[in-house]
Amino acid sequence: MDILLAIAIMALGAVVLGAALGFASIKFKVEGDPLVDKIDAILPQTQCGQCGYPGCKPYAEAIAKGEEINKCPPGGVEGVQRLADLLGREVKPLDAEEKPKQIAIIDENTCIGCTLCIQACPVDAIVGAAKQMHTIVAPLCTGCELCLPPCPVECIRMEPIAENIDNWKWKYPVVEIKAAALKEAA
């Protein structure tokens, strides 16, 4: 008899709580997944598809559903680190090798003006028209390499972004530049 009572009470509790939760889930339903946006904000938005998804947003959605976080080479180790921080997951080494930041360059002597690269560019960083020479708007290029395969004459190459005075960064004050630092502060 006791056991039946216990079961009855537990069942009652389960029904009450279940009903409350069910009601709440309808009443407090939230549209969309804010997590996806947060993941998307960390991804580098190169839209390169190296993760196997057609763009950064789809990969962000996949991560939110449990996909690995180490499939974004442009984001680099730091990107993985930040995703791990956000999602409370383990940091994993990058799935591919990390490349330095680069941009595409069109060899304008070889370009035949086929517009195939323009269609391939996910971020509209290539300008040109049919039978006209194309060129890459360097500040807009994300270095995704998606324009390389469609080019029939292989006139596009990738070049690492050179350091200039505008993007130069002060180095971490480690031993080798300490001498200069001391002189300056003297």
């Binding site: 409350a20 939760l21 709440a24 889930s25």
Partner: protein
């Protein structure tokens, strides 16, 4: 009146739920890497723990005790806590997306926080009445938040320190926690004024 004050202060400092009772260690170690998340976790736990003590008191006294089903306490408390956490999460997600962003994934983690289960059980073991239970719950929660935030602040700084390689990460965190626990033992002296 002073009796209630003693319960509150005792729960916050003297019998600190983390450093003296050694309960709720997983969020203490896991969610203390950044100060912001520690604040969020502290706030969420305080809310849930206070709610859970109240709800479990009611369940225990009006559902389990009359039918002599005290052996179902653990089970029913866990279910209740899980439901409260879920409910809280849904309400927060709807009403305050910013707060939900700060708490993020730590909110569901509270379900597995043994302090949240331990404190209602301790309440019953100590024979607290409803008000005492609530005070003890709130006090424990505040104590939990206090040490969590202190610990997170320390860990943020330790990250910049030159820790020997073999001590980096969790190892030095454990040492830090041990030192904090030693420091909190000093509050035991407050007993004399009781």
């Amino acid at each position: 009146m002073s009796h209630y004050l003693f319960i509150l202060v005792g729960a916050v400092l003297v019998n600190n739920v983390v450093l003296v009772k050694i309960l709720g260690l997983c969020p203490f170690m896991g969610v203390s890497k950044k100060l912001e998340t520690a604040y969020g976790m502290g706030a969420a736990t305080t809310f849930v723990l206070t709610m859970a003590t109240g709800a479990s008191y009611i369940i225990d006294h009006f559902l389990l005790m009359p039918f002599g089903l005290e052996y179902l306490r653990t089970l029913s408390f866990i279910v209740t806590i899980a439901a409260i956490v879920q409910l809280t999460e849904m309400v927060i997600a709807k009403t305050s997306p910013t707060l939900q962003q700060t708490l993020g994934i730590y909110l569901p983690l509270i379900t597995t926080n043994c302090a949240v289960l331990g404190v209602p059980l301790l309440n019953i073991a100590n024979g607290h009445n409803f008000v005492e239970s609530l005070l003890f719950g709130a006090g424990s929660a505040v104590g939990f938040s206090l040490v969590l935030i202190l610990f997170a602040g320390i860990r943020e700084r330790v990250e910049g320190a030159e820790v020997p390689v073999y001590f980096r990460g969790v190892a030095i965190a454990m040492v830090t926690a041990g030192l904090m626990a030693l420091a909190f033992m000093g509050f035991a002296g407050l007993d004399k004024y009781q």
